[in-house]
Symmetry: C2
């Protein structure tokens, strides 16, 4: 079953290095469906996609402080007050910016934060009683070092596919699962073992803490 | 010369009672140009319209907490960082809502105010160093009494064509000018005379206040 649906709102995604990079990074996630908005669509078919998903993510480059008009038109057409099945689903945003992060704050050149700028999405989530996820922002991707890109890529994969809220133990599990999928020649065997062992440790410690709390009461 | 340019962003303006009503109310304002966005456009011609205007107003029905995708696509295509001639011009918003005003506040069903919801437009104005006008909101137009509609219509005409900031004396001048245009049979003669007289009074009082302030210093 598809759990995460990513609505790709870039009008020319193939031409965007950022979007292409992000897209390819999800090929090994069977529970993630990437859906590019075409230029015409079957409203009912699109709604079925939304209905099947547990987590819906709008992914787009920021054009003049919002989603590209193309994506907004899609939202205008597809979303309808009667879609009560959206209740309880998660709504996330993956937005890429051509401007540096520090500009998006009071006193910065853009004055407002991404959270403030994306209120319309938050209002959409509120309307349908969806859970609004923290916004995933990519700032000036092309100017990042290779190491920073790789780091952000893993955070992105986690944003898209890890449980929410994502506790330390969930991150540990997620990371060891990912390592296992690329561990075809066994080179990460001992690392994976250690991670699994550590995670078990954490789990035991959490149980212990719960017990202690219980006894104090 | 065109001073106010209203960009009509309703995808089917002729079918909207609100938009049609507002549109017709501006027929007697020679300094106001209403521009309906078509389905394709000549980018340079559209930019010339913006260049010629002193006040630019986006007018649209709110679709899912923002402008219709159609208008957003227009903005995405037309606006360009190089348009420094926008500096100092005014940017206004005329937005019609299908939801009651009191829902748009903390604790209301929509949580956020129109000011918060329209941050992307404010950010656009900031970017080009334009003066952002107070938002003109029309709430549940079809449910308003005939009297309320007429009252809001005059406020709308003022928003579009009166100077900004609009002091009491500017409102008085604006109103007496409007009365004169419809005073073809002389029925408002005495009313207009009184208004002009009152305005002169106010002007003299303002001068007097300025003098007193000056002498105190």
């Amino acid at each position: 079953m598809v759990q995460t649906l990513i609505i790709l709102g870039h009008p020319n995604g193939e031409q965007s290095h950022t979007q292409q990079f992000l897209k390819e990074s999800l090929e090994k996630f069977p529970n993630v469906k990437q859906h590019t908005i075409s230029h015409s669509w079957d409203v009912e078919a699109e709604r079925i996609l939304l209905k099947q998903a547990e987590r819906i993510i709008f992914q787009f480059p920021v054009y003049w402080y919002g989603a590209p008009g193309h994506l907004k038109t899609w939202i205008d057409t597809i979303f309808h007050p009667s879609m009560s099945y959206l209740k309880g689903k998660e709504l996330g945003i993956v937005a890429s910016f051509g401007v540096a992060e520090h500009q998006f704050q009071a006193g910065g050149r853009e004055h407002f934060t991404p959270s403030e700028m994306f209120r319309p999405f938050e209002m959409l989530a509120n309307y349908f009683q969806m859970m609004y996820l923290p916004i995933f922002c990519v700032f000036k991707w092309m100017y990042q070092s290779e190491g920073d890109k790789q780091k952000q890529l893993i955070e992105y994969q986690m944003y898209v596919s890890a449980p929410n809220p994502c506790r330390l133990i969930d991150k540990g599990k997620w990371l060891s699962e990912q390592l296992q999928t690329i561990n075809t020649d066994g080179v990460f065997d001992s690392l994976i073992e250690t991670m699994i062992y550590n995670n078990e440790e954490i789990e035991q410690l959490l149980t212990m803490v719960t017990d202690i709390k219980h006894n104090i009461r």
